[in-house]
């Protein structure tokens, strides 16, 4: 599913009916190319979470079009029967809190997705270990989530999002609980991974520290998006400046 990343055209979402009708999304247009990291910013109640849920195939939009690579997944209705499999194989999620499964060790937290997809345990763990090494947490592979620091947990969550090599990763305020050094480190990792795995990444954020790293930013207000160019600063550079 490579090629066009994710494309959204005129996406709408309505809640309720009659007097209680709320237009959460009034026609969102978005396009994120493979290997691109874009920011999605906006005030509370602007529709960020609703958009993320629609993109994540968790709630059904009311109208519009969503395309993932060459495949149309929504066009006035779901075009994919098994949304669960769609999420598992095509969309990675990184949350504000890592939400790791507390009873699985680090490597199994990451390997769980390929296991759910039917991959053999050994192969899934091998793939998970490769990612953990790339994210510099392989030494904590056998630790339980509660034994990790906040930054380590978030890196494991990123590894989990990446393990099935999804074409899209949706990150919901992934740096909120982190200090600026760790926040920039997480963004640096996401940027590196986006390039390495040709993944389109959408990061919902309020975090002023990381906004300068985006090349493109979608502002969402009253259910509509407005695109603008970002500063596109390298997170690695910003880390050095922050340290200095």
């Amino acid at each position: 599913m490579s090629g066009n990343g994710i494309v959204i055209e005129g996406l709408q979402k309505r809640y309720g009916s009659g007097d209680t009708l709320v237009d959460a999304l009034k026609g969102v247009d978005m396009q994120v190319a493979p290997a691109e990291v874009v920011g999605l910013v906006g005030p509370s109640g602007s529709g960020k979470s609703t958009l993320l849920k629609c993109l994540g195939a968790v709630i059904e939009p009311s109208a519009g079009l969503m395309r993932l690579g060459e495949k149309i997944i929504y066009d006035g209705g779901w075009k994919i029967r098994d949304l669960r499999a769609l999420r598992r194989d095509n969309i990675g999620f990184v949350f504000q809190a890592p939400y790791l499964i507390p009873f699985l060790d680090v490597v199994d937290n990451v390997a769980l997705l390929p296991m759910l997809a039917g991959e053999r345990n050994g192969a899934a763990r091998k793939r998970a270990m490769e990612l953990l090494e790339a994210l510099d947490v392989a030494h904590r592979a056998k630790a339980m989530p509660a034994q990790l620091s906040g930054g380590e947990q978030q890196r494991v969550a990123i590894a989990r999002a990446l393990v099935n090599h999804p074409p899209v990763i949706l990150a919901d305020e992934p740096t909120a609980p982190l200090d600026s050094q760790r926040a920039l480190a997480v963004i640096a990792i996401l940027n590196d991974m986006a390039r390495q795995y040709e993944t389109a990444i959408i990061i919902v954020t309020h975090d002023e520290k990381i906004i300068p790293t985006f090349r493109r930013i979608y502002h969402i207000r009253d259910g509509r998006t407005h695109e603008e160019a970002g500063e596109g600063k390298s997170p690695h550079e910003l880390i050095k400046i922050d340290k200095a």
């Binding site: 999620f93 997705l113 759910l116």
Partner: protein, 400 residues
């Protein structure tokens, strides 16, 4: 695919084990209740089997020596023994009373039996120590449950009896140990009056002109003598010759002797269906209540455990975990809890059953049935938690 249920259990194994242990104690109580019922039935069967009788001959219109008072003349057995098909017949009395032993009281069923060897009707079937009754008076063969040892003295009414033999599993349908004493002593014990009462009785009779007639010497003495001796027994136990059907012989005795006769199967029915029926219903109610309580506890524990993982379940659903996998995880945990509970319960019931005052019979069949019921309860109890888990919206993981 890794076992999510197994990993979750291992992660909080102390809590899980402790919960299973608590549930196990409850299951242990349930198994013990079933064991008590089985013990009561077994006691009844042992009572019948060890009596050595094929037929019980009792007073007309009564349910026999174990269920109702029955009174027969002690020479009734003579006419029975002469009937076709009867090999042996022996008088017997049964009296449940407090006997004194070792400075304390023991509730016991005192059996009056004609002294004789093993195999005689009314005699204990086998001994674990000592000998059978051979003397005419003041000997007793006691069940070990009475706490007696060979050579001990047991006081029944005013008389002292020496323990000459010991039995095991010879108890009444009420679970009281049996004490076998010579028939004459038992008859005396049944009707023995205290000295003051005897004096009063003699005085009253002496003052009664109907009994104390000046011109009929010896009448008063004869009446007083008849009042102080018992010529009655509670039942005649009959052993049949080979080749005779108990029903046919019972019918003959009933017809010609005008007495009530019960066969083994009829006596078993009386003991199990009538004597312990109320206790069985009581235990049955307890079993039902305990099963419901166990189910409620498993349901509550599994539901609480599931609700504590609601965010993780939302994440699992969001990342593409099938409902089947989540339901299976909860179901496995419920079954695991039930299995731990059953093992703990079975061990607990086995360990504590010897300390029960009544015989507790833990049958392997009951254990298997109990295990199946626990598993079914666990599965049913997990439905609530599974329903709640499947309702979890994966969007909860994203928030907003």
């Amino acid at each position: 695919m890794i076992s999510l249920a197994g990993r979750d259990i291992l992660h909080g194994w102390v809590r899980f084990l402790m919960t299973g242990f608590g549930l196990g104690l409850l299951i242990g109580v349930t198994l013990s209740m079933a064991g008590i019922y089985r013990g009561m039935v077994d006691d009844a069967n042992v009572l019948i089997d060890n009596s050595g009788a094929d037929l019980w001959v009792v007073q007309q219109g009564t349910l026999g020596p174990y269920a109702e008072p029955s009174s027969l003349y002690e020479d009734t057995y003579r006419s029975i023994i002469g009937m076709a098909g009867v090999a042996r017949a022996a008088n017997v009395t049964y009296l449940t009373m407090q006997v004194r032993h070792g400075g304390g009281d023991v509730r016991a069923m005192v059996v009056g039996a004609v002294p004789g060897g093993p195999g005689e009707p009314g005699q204990p079937g086998f001994l674990i120590a000592g000998r059978h009754l051979t003397g005419g008076h003041y000997e007793v063969v006691a069940d070990v449950k009475a706490g007696c040892a060979l050579g001990d003295t047991v006081i029944i009414r005013r008389n002292r009896f020496r323990v000459v033999g010991l039995t095991r599993r010879m108890v009444s349908s009420g679970g009281d140990p049996m004490l076998f004493i010579p028939l004459k002593d038992a008859q005396e014990a049944q009707f023995l009056k205290d000295n003051d009462m005897l004096l009063q009785q003699r005085r009253r009779m002496a003052q009664n002109p109907a009994f104390n007639r000046p011109n009929v010497p010896g009448l008063l003495d004869a009446i007083v003598a008849s009042q102080t001796t018992s010529l009655y027994v509670n039942a005649v136990l009959v052993q049949l010759k080979q080749g005779y059907a108990p029903e046919a012989v019972a019918k003959d005795i009933q017809r010609w002797q005008r007495l009530q006769v019960y066969t083994r199967s009829q006596m078993r029915t009386i003991l199990v269906d009538k004597l312990i029926a109320t206790s069985a219903k009581q235990i049955g109610m307890f079993l039902v209540i305990l099963s419901i309580v166990s189910a409620a506890i498993v349901a509550f524990i599994i539901y609480t455990m599931t609700m504590a993982k609601i965010r993780e379940i939302a994440v699992l659903k969001l990342i593409g975990t099938k409902n089947r996998v989540i339901a299976s995880m909860i179901l496995q945990q419920a079954i695991g809890l039930g299995a731990i509970g059953f093992v703990v319960g079975k061990i607990a019931a086995t360990l504590w059953s010897p300390f029960f005052p009544r015989y507790v019979l833990l049958e392997p069949g009951d254990a298997i049935r109990g295990f199946i019921i626990v598993m079914v309860i666990s599965v049913l109890a997990s439905i609530l938690a599974i329903t709640a888990a499947l309702k979890v919206d994966p969007a909860e993981a994203i928030g907003g």
